[in-house]
């Protein structure tokens, strides 16, 4: 057999049938659902009298519309009637088909992409689908995950397969060590900045290199999560010992002979040495600096030490136009420094940066400091488990003592589908994944950055190079 990439191995091992030159019928090991992209899929199924043949490979989470007010889990209420209906509708659909659900008042509720891996459901070699674009996250554990639409959600429910258009192979090699003060968030933002918002469109990206191997699993989630912002159809990192340890620690059902077989299989999950990639990129981790977005697309990003671009310095007309459009929205001065830009809001959370290591990194900056005058800062843990862990470690008290709001888990202000919405003109330092126009509220301005950078913005009241602040590790 000729040399294959990890991506090809995963596709071939899940191909039920080849449909034509571009499409296969792909078997799905785990299908995640949320309350807002699944209702019409269930309705389509019910309209046609179709059933869910394999409910035990499906799971659902109330994540996007849930308010994050700091009340006990058992007292959480969705006040908006339409959103409440989405949650009760999801619960009814899950009950009807026997699908496990992390419901509104479950202490383990959270963001789907935080909840699924932390409880051991994400395993190397899987194909994982979800009606949410950030499903690329699972590449961190060597699982092929990607987002699908609601028609496809219905397809997966009814068949446990997907009609899948094959992607091309891209490899991004990152060598060297990330410098102090920089994180996987800064790395992926710098990669997106170089590749562009559609630089990886049509590709599944495999990350490799010494910098990637040195990343914790949670940092790898951040990296793979945002690969979709470069247009990637999927992201992968070959699962080494760290990934295996992470999964086994969270999946107590994998024991004995099954464990031995799993370990033997997982060790085969790597691209062959001679495998061909259609496109290859190289990055030097030692050159990464803290990054911040300046525009309205994640590829409109720069080093915190750099200047906001000038439209008239852009190469072509389309770039000039999009730079102008973005700066009109973000109200920044062309050629001015991004550092020092005042912020009124700070948001720490999301499927990109709502995990315990993210909160620890933010806490290390916040410790001994206080949220600046005139800034509203909130921490929304990625899940109930993350929240409990942070409380046990004293991070919650640290954040609240410093003037942060410590809230219940959910997607929250990442896309502002619940009541965590920013007002027109409010500028937000955010650990999320999209700085689109209106994403956090109509007219609200989003600057994407790492948790440490967001914490630095919270305590100084402006976009700040976190490397200039002394860290106080917990």
């Amino acid at each position: 057999m000729s040399a294959r990439t990890l991506y090809r191995k995963l596709v071939e091992s899940h191909t039920v049938a080849t449909l034509d030159a571009q499409n296969v019928l792909l078997f799905c090991d785990l299908h995640l659902m949320n309350e807002y992209t699944s209702p019409q899929a269930f309705a389509a199924l019910h309209d046609r009298g179709r059933s869910v043949p394999v409910p035990g490979q499906n799971v659902a989470v109330v994540s996007h519309i849930i308010p994050t007010h700091p009340v006990p889990s058992t007292l959480r209420v969705i006040a908006d009637p339409a959103s409440a209906l989405q949650a009760t509708n999801l619960a009814a659909n899950c009950r009807r088909h026997g699908i496990p659900l992390f419901d509104t008042r479950d202490a383990l509720q959270g963001i789907e992409h935080v909840v699924a891996p932390e409880h051991g459901m994400v395993r190397p070699g899987m194909v994982i689908l979800c009606g949410d674009s950030h499903t690329t996250t699972y590449g961190a554990l060597g699982a092929l995950g990607f987002g699908i639409g609601t028609s496809e959600v219905a397809h997966v429910l009814a068949t446990q397969t997907l009609v899948y258009r094959l992607a091309q192979d891209m490899r991004i090699r990152v060598d060297g060590m990330l410098p102090a003060g920089t994180t996987a968030k800064d790395l992926i933002l710098s990669i997106i900045g170089r590749l562009g918002a559609q630089g990886a469109r049509g590709f599944v990206v495999e990350f490799c290199g010494t910098a990637i191997e040195a990343l914790s699993i949670e940092a790898r989630f951040t990296l793979c999560n945002m690969a979709v912002e470069a247009g990637a159809r999927g992201a992968l990192i070959a699962p080494g010992q760290a990934a295996i340890d992470y999964v086994l620690a969270r999946a107590p059902d994998i024991t004995g002979e099954v464990r031995d077989a799993a370990l033997a299989h997982w060790r085969t999950l790597a691209s062959d040495a001679e495998a061909h990639f259609d496109v290859e990129h190289r990055f030097d981790a030692t050159e990464v600096v803290p990054h911040v977005t300046w525009g309205t697309s994640p590829d409109q990003v720069l080093a915190v030490t750099a200047q906001v671009p000038r439209p008239d310095a852009q190469q072509d007309e389309a770039q000039r136009r999009s730079t102008e459009q973005a700066l009109r929205y973000t109200r920044l001065v062309p050629g001015g420094a991004i550092e020092g830009t005042p912020v009124q809001h700070v948001f720490i959370g999301s499927c990109t940066n709502g995990r315990i290591e993210d909160l620890r990194a933010a806490a290390a900056v916040v410790r001994g400091r206080h949220v600046a005058e005139g800034v509203r800062a909130m921490v929304v843990p990625g899940s109930g488990a993350v929240k409990a862990q942070a409380e046990a470690e004293g991070l919650a008290a640290l954040f609240t003592d410093a003037g942060f709001e410590w809230r219940q888990p959910g997607c929250s202000m990442c896309l502002a589908m619940n009541d965590d919405v920013l007002a027109d003109g409010v500028r937000c330092a955010s650990t999320t994944n999209r700085n689109f126009e209106g994403r956090q509220g109509r007219g609200a301005i989003t600057h994407l950055m790492s948790p440490a950078m967001a914490a630095a913005a919270a305590v100084t009241g402006r976009i700040t190079d976190v490397r200039l602040l002394e860290l106080n590790h917990v």
Binding site: V16, A17, D20, N23, L25, F27, D29, L30, T37, P39, Q40, R50, G56, Q57, N89, A91, R95, G98, P100, R105, L108, H119, G120, M121, G131, D132, S133, I148, G149, S151, E152, H155, A158, T159, Q160, T161, V163, Q198, R201, G202, G231, A251, P252, I254, V258, A261, A262, D299, A318, R321, S322, Q325, L415, A416, M417, F436, E437, G438, R439, R442
Partner: protein
């Protein structure tokens, strides 16, 4: 099926690169459990100001473009969120095709799964189509889904579409129904897959029992 062979009508140019689905269908329109009422949300912040008044200068608000059937957009059209509401909304708004240099991948699949035609053409052709669309008198575009051509006042260009996607637009295939014809194969595949990889079987059911989900 001559009815679906030709898509023709008024075209409007949207000169926005990376037009994401958050902009095509903002969050406040995503709270339904059905597909209704989404025409109101299409490009809401572009069409309406903060007070909810129509912006008269936005192309889709101009009286001459009230009957727009085809959008000509910038690169990476429909990137971002997987929300299929963007496609449903465009269709409810009367849009039958979107022509752009490239599309966000999930949007592209979502569009074709609903019979919304998506046509990829090179940047210079798009620029010419946009100029034609700007001319109210000659801003009609005609797309032949059978022959795979796009015609306007100054453009007569072929485009590619996979045979599968062409059939989806022309015939409105029941994709799930077709895949269910593979049900026996899928079941055989699953049995062999789980025999080789028993740790993948019922993974959410096993986890759900361990975590005591669905107690309420």
């Amino acid at each position: 099926m001559s009815d679906s062979r030709f898509i023709e009508g008024r075209a409007a140019a949207l000169r926005i690169e990376n037009l994401d689905t958050d902009q095509i269908m903002p969050k406040q329109f995503l709270r339904g459990i059905d597909k209704s009422g989404l025409a109101a949300g299409v490009l809401y912040d572009q069409r309406f100001d903060a007070q909810g008044r129509p912006r008269p200068d936005f192309v889709l608000n101009r009286p001459d473009y009230a009957d727009t059937r085809i959008l000509v957009g910038g690169a990476n059209f429909g990137c971002g969120s997987s929300r299929e509401h963007a496609v449903w909304g465009l269709q409810q708004f009367g849009i039958r095709a979107v022509i752009a240099p490239s599309f966000g991948e999930i949007f592209y699949s979502n569009a074709l799964n609903n019979g919304l035609l998506v046509v990829m053409l090179p940047e210079p052709v798009i620029a010419a189509l946009m100029r034609d669309a700007d001319d109210v008198a000659n801003g009609q575009i005609r797309i032949d889904v059978q022959a795979l051509t796009v015609c306007s006042a100054s453009v007569d260009a072929p485009f590619t579409l996979s045979a599968r996607h062409q059939r989806m637009v022309l015939e409105g295939l029941d994709v799930i129904g077709l895949s269910l014809t593979y049900q026996a194969q899928t079941e055989a595949f699953a049995a062999a897959h789980w025999a080789r990889h028993p740790w993948l079987r019922d993974v959410s059911a096993v986890t759900g029992r361990r975590l005591q989900l669905n107690r309420s």
